[in-house]
């Protein structure tokens, strides 16, 4: 009789374990899609029609990712002067890029928050680095801290 009880208890426990493990799996509506983000970042200029560039900017001016996403950023400088890009607080920066040059950086957005990206070459007409609007060459990386990740 005691043998029978042991077998029944074992069988019931096994079923209980299966149900418990099934409970551990999340029952969310759908899994999140995780693909690498491959951005082509342009350093470009804008000016009046037919005139020279009077303002220089990064395009896109805003990058939004979720915390944990990996970003590959190919940076190309279309302007006449040398520029570079640094994402402050993310430890990301390119080499100095002369007009027409490109560089590539890859990083994982491991912290939530808003991070500024800007040119790290000070304006120097003699050296041909950056432009008078150096302080306005600013964009933002927004890292969304989603609860599910």
């Amino acid at each position: 009789m005691s043998r029978t009880y042991t077998w029944i208890a074992t069988a019931l426990s096994a079923v209980a374990i299966v149900f418990s493990l099934a409970t551990l799996r999340p029952a969310g509506p759908s899994p999140a899609a995780n693909i690498p983000i491959d951005i082509w970042m342009l350093i470009t200029g804008q000016g009046g029609i037919g005139g020279p560039s009077t303002s220089h900017l990064y395009d896109p001016q805003m990058i939004v990712v979720r915390r944990g996403d990996t970003v590959r950023m190919r940076v190309m400088n279309q302007s006449l002067f040398s520029h570079a890009i640094e994402i402050v607080g993310m430890n990301v920066r390119t080499k100095a890029l002369a007009g027409g040059d490109s560089d590539e950086v890859t990083f994982t957005a491991d912290r939530g928050g808003i991070f500024e990206y800007r040119c790290i070459l000070p304006y120097d007409p003699a050296a041909g680095t950056c432009s008078p609007d150096h302080d306005k060459m600013i964009g933002h990386l927004v890292v969304v801290d989603t609860p599910a990740r």
Binding site: Y5, P60, S79, P147
Partner: protein, 145 residues
């Protein structure tokens, strides 16, 4: 002793079955209640030139929606070449967009994640399809929870 083991295992079974049946019932605690938004966006082929290079891209290059939001895209091609818009992951495409043509796409962002949009016409100078920087005509939709 065996009787106690039996009683305990029956108890464990009942608790797990109840937990299993109850999973997913009720909203997760972290999801705030909110009204879904409708994002009406103009999505165009933009051309940036400089240093002898014409860079084409979908503009805006990046936009964000939350799960449940409706996205209404007015897609236009002011470029001199043909392009086509494809939002991978949501399996949405437009017809071939000749210069000056436009199309619209409307969908509900029902899945969270990162979704790339791109040009789905390979570069073909003979037919006027896309441009040499075809692979870089890429943007991203981020859908947050």
């Amino acid at each position: 002793m065996q009787r106690i083991a039996l009683i305990l295992s029956i108890l464990a079974l009942v608790i797990s079955v109840v937990a299993f049946a109850g999973r997913g019932a009720g909203p997760p605690a972290a999801t705030p209640t909110r009204t879904p938004a409708t994002l009406q966006l103009s999505m165009i082929v933009a051309t940036f030139t400089g240093q002898g290079v014409a860079a084409h891209r979908w503009y805006p290059t990046m936009f964000v929606a939350r799960v449940g939001d409706t996205v209404d895209l007015a897609i236009g091609n002011p470029d001199r070449f043909n392009h086509g818009f494809e939002l991978t992951g949501y399996n949405l495409t437009t017809k071939k967009l000749t210069p000056g043509a436009s199309a619209s796409i409307r969908f509900t962002a029902d899945r969270s994640g990162v979704f790339a949009y791109r040009c789905n016409l390979p570069h073909n100078p003979a037919t006027g399809d896309c441009t040499p920087d075809h692979e870089l005509m890429r943007g991203y939709l981020i859908v947050t929870e």
